[in-house]
């Protein structure tokens, strides 16, 4: 499944949290995917699907329960603290709430410049002198669209949400990372500002040759920025496909339901209530047997409760974990009958 030339390979990742009395939250259950150098992988799903946990597990915050995270061939899970430190500058993260992810008491030049001092031993190109550090900070601030002269001495509260997100991006980029994990970076922003930040991430990706993992619940945003998209539901990977394929011909019923809920900015399109998800997300302490989506799935049958579907390829590059995927349905016979026969 995983090719060796992938920059980042996540294999059989499991993250569980104990919640007392021997029970545990199955936040991420046996998820595998890889990220090629220079691509943007989008990760979508509702709240509680494990997308942020998966993103954090990649940078070993906290370390996953089991599974491996291969970065340029090295398994980060197996490294001890000192060894892991050497890799940290190359995997950076930006978070959802730009205001609370910046220390309100510090100046922008320190927020952005500190990583250089903290990681001075680990960095390939060390930034020795104060002047060099200052120049580097100014360079990234300029790159993210802030005026280094006026911004450097100010504190986060003097900036708007969009500008704070620019500062977070600058702080991540100052270390010249290879991989940037973006956890809902635009969810807290207005649409107009959201567009600025997405365009900025695209520009930064090109300028610093980044590889992005872009986590979001907003499918339209994910489609715009991603080359491939992974859809998660209740800790499981449902579907993984090139974004244009995924949005044109979704194979998993959950993907189709997600796409049906995107609000269209066009009054000619009357919101249809068909294809809407009903019911609530089941508990991740005691997830449904078999396919975890079966309790809300319009196509679910007995087999879905008994047997867990494995991720398999249904079209070029499109992999889906479903017994009755939408792309295999034969038009002549009712979909479920057809797939039962083939199964």
């Amino acid at each position: 499944m995983t090719t060796n030339d992938a920059l980042l390979s996540v294999e059989n990742l499991v993250v569980e949290y104990p919640v007392g009395r021997g029970r545990k939250v199955h936040a991420v259950s046996d998820v595998s995917f890889d990220v090629q150098a220079g691509e943007t992988l989008g990760v979508v799903g509702e709240s509680g699907c494990g997308k942020s946990t998966a993103g954090k597990a990649i940078v070993q915050l906290p370390r996953p329960t089991s599974g491996s995270v291969l970065f340029e061939g090295t398994d980060l899970v197996k490294l001890d603290g000192d060894q892991l430190r050497r890799f940290r500058p190359r995997l950076q993260m930006i978070f959802q709430d730009p205001v609370s992810s910046l220390n309100p008491r510090r100046r922008v030049e320190d927020i952005v410049g500190d990583p250089l001092s903290v990681w001075s031993a680990e960095l390939e190109s060390s930034v020795a002198s104060k002047q060099e550090r200052k120049a580097k900070v100014a360079e990234v601030l300029e790159a993210v669209g802030l005026d280094p002269v006026s911004a450097a001495g100010r504190r986060p509260h003097e900036f708007s949400g969009g500008q704070c997100q620019r500062i977070s991006i600058a702080r991540a980029l100052v270390l010249e990372p290879k991989v940037l994990i973006c956890d809902e970076p635009v969810s807290a922003l207005d649409v107009s500002i959201q567009a600025q930040i997405i365009n900025l991430l695209e520009a930064m990706k090109a300028r610093f040759s980044l590889t992005l993992v872009f986590i979001s619940h907003d499918l339209a945003v994910v489609r715009n920025i991603s080359d491939r998209v992974a859809v998660m539901y209740l800790g499981k990977l449902c579907e993984l496909a090139p974004s244009d394929v995924l949005y044109r011909t979704p194979a998993h019923p959950y993907t189709a339901a997600l796409l049906a809920s995107i609000p269209e900015p066009d009054p000619a399109i009357v919101p249809s209530t068909t294809g809407r998800l009903t019911g609530e997300l089941p508990s991740s302490i005691d997830p449904p047997s078999g396919c975890r989506f079966r309790t809300r799935c319009p196509r679910a049958e007995e087999r879905c409760a008994a047997e867990e579907p494995v991720l398999r390829e249904v079209a070029t590059g499109q992999r889906v974990a479903c017994h009755f995927p939408l792309v295999e349905a034969r038009p002549a016979a009712p979909a479920n009958v057809a797939s039962q026969q083939s199964a």
Binding site: R223, S226, P265, P267
Partner: protein, 365 residues
């Protein structure tokens, strides 16, 4: 769909539509350490019974303060609000708190953005719903409980009898927002304010909640003001849309007209900044450069001019009035409107001159 239902009133002129809400020259200012901040600056509009108005704008455009000023839900100190708000026969400006309490809930209700903080965490769901039924409608405890069960099932909460005994933390965000809607609808208001009702929710839940609001609005022939920053949310679900910028309405039109014949460059820019799921990946988004104006000292002339690709010298000195467009019910405030010869010429001139609007634009586009 609400539109088919509500526009029926216009096709039969013998039943004149009743004006439920009239707002005239509403102006709300806050005292801040830096000076007076005018959050709502001379807003006027009307809303007929049973219709849905979308109020759209970025953070800081004054859309939330507008809805709170209409409801008279402003802080007692530091806020001044003048103008005329006539709702369902009441002159809202100047009413005492006691008089307002008789209107809130029964005639005028609100659903807030964050269902986590708008419910009382220490009270059971049932008590939070029956409270207003008993207070406003004088129901007995058992009557109120019965009615609460009906309300909870009408907003799509499964096993409502059991849910009455739950505390808010036992419910998901989507269910909690359903509960706040049930509370708002409890006494059968004639106008419901929904202030970013789905911003804190997932896309799938957002669709469910918007469907629910539309269904309830149709069933109860209640008017609704849907406040949001997302044009996508209001596109298919409102009769009219008012776009706000810098505390003013800059364009207002029936929804279809607004999307088909938008005149205000800000409306165009807002629509252009939305990523569309039907566009291929990596389509560059048309971000609006810069950020909204500082309402303590707004720029002279048109407030959108510093961010506007159409802006000409006139825009920076002379404020455009809100004027009528050829289509009925369409108003806009712009000297060089989108889709007109003047607008096209202004855009072309700016392009030729290579006007750099903002440092952010050169980076982001």
């Amino acid at each position: 769909m609400s539109r088919g239902h509500t526009t029926a009133g216009h096709e039969y002129p013998e039943i004149p539509a009743e004006t439920l809400l009239t707002v005239e020259d509403l102006r709300t200012t806050f005292d801040t350490p830096r000076g007076k901040l005018t959050a709502v600056d001379g807003v006027s509009f009307e809303l007929e019974a049973g219709r849905t108005l979308g109020v759209v704008g970025e953070s800081g455009s004054g859309k939330t303060v507008l809805s709170r000023s209409v409801m008279r839900l402003l802080p007692k100190r530091g806020a001044t609000s003048t103008g005329r708000v006539r709702f369902n026969g009441h002159e809202m400006v100047g009413l005492t708190q006691k008089q307002l309490r008789g209107i809130w809930g029964t005639e005028l209700a609100m659903v807030f953005q964050d269902p986590m903080t708008s419910l009382n965490p220490t009270m059971r769901i049932g008590n939070q719903i029956t409270e207003s039924l008993r207070y406003h409608l004088g129901m007995s405890s058992s009557e109120a409980t019965e009615h609460a069960v009906v309300l909870l099932s009408s907003v799509g909460i499964p096993t409502p009898e059991r849910r009455l005994h739950d505390y808010p933390h036992q419910l998901s965000g989507g269910l909690r927002q359903r509960v706040t809607i049930a509370i708002a609808l409890a006494c059968g208001p004639r106008l419901l304010f929904a202030d970013e009702p789905t911003t804190a929710l997932d896309v799938t839940v957002q669709a469910q909640i918007l469907d629910l609001l539309a269904a309830q609005q149709r069933e109860r022939s209640m008017a609704m003001i849907l406040v949001t920053h997302d044009l996508g949310v209001v596109a298919g679900r409102t009769d009219d849309i008012a776009v706000m910028y810098g505390g003013k309405i800059v364009e207002q039109a029936p929804t279809k007209t607004l999307f088909a014949e938008m005149r205000m460059p800000y409306t165009e820019a807002l629509l252009g900044s939305i990523p569309r799921a039907d566009q291929p990946s990596h389509t560059p988004l048309q971000a609006i450069p810069g950020r909204p104006p500082d309402l303590v000292s707004p720029p002279p002339g048109c407030r959108f001019a510093p961010r506007c690709p159409y802006a000409q010298p006139r825009c920076r000195h002379e404020e455009p009035p809100l004027r009528e467009a050829p289509t009925k019910g369409h108003r806009f405030a712009c000297w060089f409107p989108v889709g007109t010869p003047e607008g096209r010429q202004a855009l072309e001139e700016n392009r030729v001159r290579g006007v750099a609007l903002d440092p952010a634009r050169s980076v982001t586009t």
